[in-house]
């Protein structure tokens, strides 16, 4: 009798707990919220920059378990053995683009840099050298591939944010060490700037000669 009462009480307790959990779930999912316009810090700076070129640099990273054939050292070997015991796969590939731009800072242009010869219908302009800097990165993080199976944990927002941060740091280091990116950008920018300035300033049929400072 006592054991039967105990079993009935236990069943009632579990049922009550389950009902309580179900009660936490709303009958209908709440509407998705639209983004807020709160701002923590805002800076608008007046500039006079003529952007003439931009390159997109793609950085890609993949997440995967360690394979015993690829390990170096004891720690990686132990981690690879643990990964081999896990049930399921955890693989993903992500990428995003970062932008580098080249621009002329018009604030560095002085009246002495433009000489106009109305008789000869000739304009000579000496442009300040191109600057290059980062012009942001894609806010979106492209998921090229995602496969998480078995008992493996999903790749969540926190992990993706940390991954993007690491990729950003590495990309900046690569750009710093490899001049090829800025060389390509400056070459493209110079050609465009020269072509535009000749057309824009030659609007009245003047012949325009374009030179660069520090070149």
């Amino acid at each position: 009798m006592k054991s039967r009462d105990f079993i009935l009480t236990a069943i009632m307790a579990v049922a009550t707990a389950l009902m309580g959990l179900c009660g936490c779930h709303r009958a209908s999912a709440p509407a998705d919220t639209s983004p807020s316009s709160e701002v923590l810090l805002k800076r608008l700076s007046g500039v006079e920059q003529l952007q003439v070129a931009e390159i997109s640099i793609r950085k890609t990273a993949s997440i995967d378990d360690l394979k015993p054939s690829e390990v170096e050292g004891a720690r990686q070997m132990v981690a690879a053995m643990i990964d081999a015991l896990k049930i399921g796969d955890r693989k993903a590939v992500y990428s995003y683009d970062t932008y580098l731009r080249a621009y002329v800072d018009l604030g560095e242009l002085t009246p002495a840099d433009i000489t106009v010869d109305t008789a000869a219908r000739h304009i000579s302009i000496t442009l300040p050298d191109l600057h290059t800097d980062y012009a942001g990165r894609d806010a979106e993080f492209r998921e090229e591939h995602y496969r998480v199976t078995g008992l493996r944990s999903a790749i969540d927002s926190e992990e993706r944010a940390r991954l993007k941060e690491s990729m950003n740091k590495l990309l900046k280091e690569e750009v710093r060490q490899n001049d090829e990116f800025s060389r390509l950008l400056i070459e493209t920018g110079r050609r465009r700037a020269e072509s535009f300035v000749r057309t824009f300033l030659g609007v009245d049929g003047y012949q325009v000669e374009v030179k660069w400072k520090n070149r």
Binding site: C24, P35, L50, D138, E165
Partner: protein, 191 residues
């Protein structure tokens, strides 16, 4: 006999300590496990343009998203600029005066490349029995909406109009210096 036993025990303990230290040093100096592989950065596109940019933007804001009872809170930093495509400028003669009309402003807003520009502080679900994580697609959609809102706010606050006024002044000065003619530069009606 007892002394010899003590000495032997001491030697054994010392040998174990040295061996343990050596193993520990080997362990800690071996490369840490890394389940992420990074591929070399490569150029995916190169474009040339002639865009006069008169306002640079930097904003940090909370990033909040809610999808199907799941919530995400973080912080995002945006950077960008307001610019005008000078190749779409319309030029015409009005007697001695050169009339210039600037095209519509382009507001470019992207995630900043400064460290810590995107941080997720917390994600949770209203129903503990259901997963709390957002998919990459859901997160990307929320970010797109935020960027669109930030761009609309720039228009509403008058920043785009002010950028246009500055651009018109710059273009007028440049053309006037080059042509020696008075230049009247106006903005497109939708600026």
């Amino acid at each position: 006999m007892r002394r010899i036993q003590i000495v032997l025990w001491l030697i054994l303990v010392l040998a174990l300590a040295v061996g343990g230290l050596a193993l520990w040093q080997r362990w800690s100096s071996s490369p840490a496990p890394e389940r992420v592989r990074y591929y070399p950065a490569r150029v995916s596109d190169i474009r040339s343009m002639v865009e006069l940019q008169t306002v640079e933007i930097y904003e940090e804001m909370p990033f909040k998203a809610a999808v199907g009872g799941r919530h995400l809170v973080g912080k995002i930093a945006l950077e960008g600029h307001i610019g005008f495509d000078l190749e779409k400028v319309a030029l015409s003669d009005q007697g001695d005066t050169l009339a210039v009309t600037l095209p519509s402003a382009t507001v470019t807003l992207r995630e900043s490349t400064e460290p810590g520009s995107y941080v997720v502080y917390d994600t949770w679900s209203d129903n503990p029995a259901k997963p709390k994580s957002f998919t990459a697609a859901e997160e990307n959609k929320a970010k797109r909406q935020l960027l669109q809102l930030a761009a609309r706010n720039l228009h509403k606050s008058g920043a785009v109009k002010r950028a246009g006024t500055n651009a018109a002044r710059t273009v007028a000065e440049m053309l006037s210096a080059a042509t020696g003619r008075p230049v009247k530069c106006t903005l497109a009606p939708d600026n």
